[in-house]
């Protein structure tokens, strides 16, 4: 990288501009990644918190897809599956003067998230997530039924709503149904006609809006990465053309094609690493602030992975363009030879 470092110092403005663009693109990709993970968690963290196992749903009609909201497994099917039935519905919870939209999840207490305080609820009782405005001993009203809060559990959400846990029997009464939304089974459960089993990742798609939300945000990230490839590629195409004369001189004095290619790729990597590190660092700082107001996950996976992806795709774009360095004819250093 003998030439590369010196060119970086010489053409500071141009490389700073490219580095700045890479930093901004990385900032956007990292913020979107954190937001995607945050919104995903807000959609399905209650499903993630369930014990290990597959979820069995009612088989959807041909034009429909599996959904917690539309799946209704009859009692005979639940019995045949032999797992833990789960009921899911959305309603309003009134606690004192406060009313919140909540997801009511009816299931055996063994399926609840870790309890922060209190004891597992029985009939007529409820466990609420920590984010809700209710304390142990409070009475809360769900769809006209009153329950006493006996436990505060870890803060999880379902379809962006806080969750209230009741027993499965209480949920059936509240939902005025004798069916279950899904059944949590282990790997030995028999296949029952009219049902479809889903592993955890597939089950996430059964939460309303999850797939659309994740798909839209992922598409935005992919497009940003694609634009980054084009920007980096365009810059290094022009840059390589501008210094074709210098490259011809280096070839003429005996610099091999590999020497020039390594130097050029090293230069691109240095700019990408610097830009992505600045962008990633700024995004981590903004993400830490954003996570106090919006669903945002800030961890190694949501920062390091998109930063690495940005460097990787940028290097790919640069590689395609700086490949031209290997085709420079050293004869052109002589100028008038042809």
């Amino acid at each position: 990288m003998f030439i590369a470092w010196r060119e970086l110092g010489y053409a500071k403005g141009r490389f700073a501009l490219l580095g700045g663009v890479i930093a901004l693109m990385t900032l956007m990709v990292v913020l979107l990644t954190g937001l995607t993970a945050g919104l995903g968690a807000a959609s399905v963290s209650a499903v993630t918190a369930l014990p290990p196992g597959d979820l069995v749903f009612q088989e959807p009609a041909a034009a429909q897809k599996t959904d917690f909201a539309t799946s209704a497994l009859p009692p005979a099917t639940v019995t045949a599956l032999g797992g833990d039935p789960i009921g899911v519905s959305t309603t309003r919870m009134t606690s004192g003067d406060t009313t919140d939209a909540v997801t009511v999840l009816g299931a055996d207490p063994a399926l609840y998230p870790a309890t922060e305080t209190g004891t597992a609820p029985g009939a007529g009782q409820a466990a609420v997530t920590a984010g809700l405005n209710a304390s142990i001993g409070d009475s809360v009203t769900l769809s006209g039924h009153t329950y006493t809060v006996t436990a505060i559990v870890d803060d999880v959400t379902f379809n962006h709503l806080p969750v209230v846990y009741v027993t499965f029997t209480d949920w059936q009464a509240l939902a005025r149904t004798d069916t279950a939304s899904a059944v949590l089974v282990d790997g030995t459960a028999p296949h029952v006609p009219g049902t479809v089993a889903a592993d955890r990742d597939t089950a996430y798609a059964a939460v309303g809006g999850y797939s659309s939300e994740q798909g839209s945000l992922t598409l935005m990230r992919v497009l940003l990465l694609g634009v980054s490839v084009l920007i980096v590629g365009a810059f290094f195409t022009v840059w390589t053309m501008q210094r074709a004369g210098d490259l011809a001189v280096v070839r003429a004095i005996g610099g091999g094609r590999g020497y020039l290619l390594r130097d050029a790729l090293g230069q691109a990597l240095a700019v990408l690493l610097a830009g992505a590190a600045i962008g990633g660092g700024a995004a981590a700082g903004l993400g830490a602030l954003a996570s106090q107001a919006v669903p945002f996950v800030l961890d190694v996976a949501t920062v390091a992975v998109p930063v690495a992806a940005m460097v990787g795709v940028g290097l790919l774009g640069a590689a395609v363009c700086v490949r031209r360095t290997t085709t420079v004819d050293p004869l052109t250093a002589l100028g008038a030879a042809r």
Binding site: F2, I3, G245, I253, G254, L331, L334, A336
Partner: protein, 223 residues
């Protein structure tokens, strides 16, 4: 002999026919000898340098540089030959804009993989030799035309070449600076025992060189 060219022929495509750039050219240059090749534009002077410096391969004839037969060498071997045995001084100096005068020389050492400390010492010695040690850390943009050409000479000498090929070194210089550069090339040739070929259409300084050849329509004859 540092350069032996014998019956060298080179043609280039020119529409439907082939243009003869070198027509059975023969030239021998010994160590410590500096030879001028003069002639009008398009006569084949630069083609002669290109073949002698292993930038292109002759269609027929033989070319030997410092005892190595260039004919039939592959791309990588020709790169190696240029790196180890040949020094180029280009028209307009052709210095890399981003590199200081010192770095122009260190680049040669980096390409050859020479040890850093020794390379730096040699580079400073060469810059001192061409009278530019005080401007070692200036980039080409802050050097005059004559200074740039002297840096180019120092760069060409950095790899201790057996053969020094010089392309129109005075084309952008006034008479005085042109004289200085040619004198520098002559002295370097004598002291460092290189075989030097200077292609030029500038006839003002031929008295400084050992002999002159004239290229016309691809044919080389003593002038």
């Amino acid at each position: 002999m540092s350069l032996i060219m014998k019956d060298v022929r080179l043609t280039y495509p020119d529409g439907d026919r082939r243009l003869v750039a070198l027509d059975d050219v023969s030239l021998t240059v010994e160590p410590g000898e500096i030879v001028a090749v003069t002639g009008p534009s398009g006569s084949g002077k630069s083609s002669l340098l290109a073949v002698a410096g292993a930038l292109v391969t002759a269609e027929s004839g033989t070319v030997a540089v410092a005892g190595t037969d260039v004919t039939g060498l592959g791309q990588k071997d020709r790169d190696r030959l240029r790196r180890d045995r040949v020094g180029f001084v280009f028209q307009q100096a052709n210095l890399l804009a981003a590199l200081t005068a010192l770095d122009q020389l260190l680049l040669v050492a980096h390409v050859t993989g020479a040890p850093k400390a020794a390379a730096r010492t040699r580079a400073m010695e060469l810059l001192d030799y061409v009278g530019l040690a005080a401007k070692a850390h200036r980039r080409p943009g802050r050097l005059s035309g004559g200074e740039r050409q002297r840096v180019a000479v120092a760069r060409a000498l950095m790899g201790e070449p057996a053969l020094l090929l010089v392309d129109e070194p005075t084309s952008a210089l006034d008479a005085e600076r042109g004289h200085d550069v040619i004198a520098l090339l002559r002295d370097a040739t004598r002291e460092r025992r290189t075989a030097t070929v200077v292609v030029t259409h500038d006839l003002r300084h031929l008295d400084l060189l050992d002999r002159a050849m004239e290229m016309r329509d691809g044919t080389l004859t003593p002038s």
